[in-house]
């Protein structure tokens, strides 16, 4: 299956791909937001903000919320009528200096597993810091890239969980591509390139069939 199944790729650093599952997961991440105009009838959704349970309750102006990216993007408008977005801590000044100091040390998986993707989408909300954010994203990536490339090309048949633990999703994708390249090359060297094999799908299917019989 791995040879014949080509899932829709992520839109990476440009506009999101509508059908890409990676992009959908990435746009689910939350963003701190401040409501500028009162939003009628939505008070019931955000009950924990101390609103009443009446159906007609309006969300007052100035409420601070955490909204997923897709919602924030949809409600954001250049004249800033409905929402104003705060940039999350990771993309702010403090962390940016940490990244410029040494990007390799940071555990990007903990900082939100979609660091690069989410950061690129943040540029959609024009903020005075956009230029700095994009610069910092680029620099972090170039700083970490060398290590990812080296580790993916040199760990053959080993347990890579320690290497992959601190990478964010984009970097993990790169790592896996590197590993696949390495494995293909090694199998070519061993002469397995012309050996016809049962596809991964068939093998997985056989295993699943056994569990069905046990039920």
């Amino acid at each position: 299956m791995s040879e014949a199944y080509f899932p829709v790729e992520s839109g990476a650093l440009g506009p999101e791909n509508f059908l890409s599952l990676d992009d959908i997961l990435m746009s689910q991440e939350k963003l701190p937001v401040r409501v500028e105009t009162p939003m009628p009838r939505l008070g019931a959704f955000f009950l924990e903000r101390g609103a009443g349970a009446e159906a007609d309750y309006a969300l007052p102006q100035g409420t601070k919320l955490e909204l997923p990216l897709w919602l924030a993007k949809g409600l954001f408008d250049n004249k800033r009528r409905i929402l104003s977005v705060e940039i999350p801590k990771i993309y702010q000044e403090g962390w940016r200096t940490v990244f410029s100091a040494d990007a390799n040390v940071v555990d990007l998986h903990k900082m939100g597993p979609h660091f690069y993707g989410f950061g690129s989408q943040l540029l959609h909300f024009d903020s005075p810091e956009s230029a700095d954010i994009s610069q910092s994203l680029l620099q972090t990536f170039t700083g970490r890239f060398r290590r990812i490339m080296d580790s993916s090309q040199n760990s053959y048949n080993e347990d890579t969980s320690a290497l992959v633990a601190r990478l964010d999703e984009t970097e993990r994708g790169l790592f896996q591509t590197g590993q696949k390249g390495l494995n293909d090359f090694q199998s070519w060297e061993k002469g397995q390139a012309s050996q016809i094999t049962a596809s991964n799908l068939v093998q997985n299917y056989k295993k699943r069939k056994f569990t069905n019989m046990e039920d």
Binding site: M1, A4, L19, T37, L71, A193, S194, I196, S199
Partner: protein, 161 residues
Amino acid sequence: MKALYEQNQSDVNEAKSAGRGDLIPTIKFRHCSLLRNRRCTVAYLYDRLLRIRALRWEYGSVLPNTLRFHMSAEEMEWFNHYKKSLATYMRSLGGDEGLDITQDMKPPKSLYIEVRCLKDYGEFEVDDGTSVLLKKNSQHFLPRWKCEQLIRQGVLEHVLS
């Protein structure tokens, strides 16, 4: 989704008629949720189609029954259309008979290959008429193009000497 849509409809009407322009953020909010739900379902269905397409290349034209059970009627129809398009395309290549591009997924090194049987399959007929009984762990020396399908399905195993 219907509930969201209905709420939105009533709000839009109210906004237009009663001039309550401040309902617009609420309408936008619900509209965003509807779009999001649509995006997720469409992406899921599309991914299923991509996997079904991969099945044609891995399994061949006939799918095992248990797999067929998991697909909806529309997906089966799509699979049949895809099979037909692929077959028409293959027939149009390479001269009179067409070229089977689902064969030879890896570059062939020889005409005949050594295979070992992984499970009982029964009788298997070769081009010149001789039939071979495929029992578990029996080894045979067979022409490549006949065995490729069986190897991919996991019945035979390609043995490199």
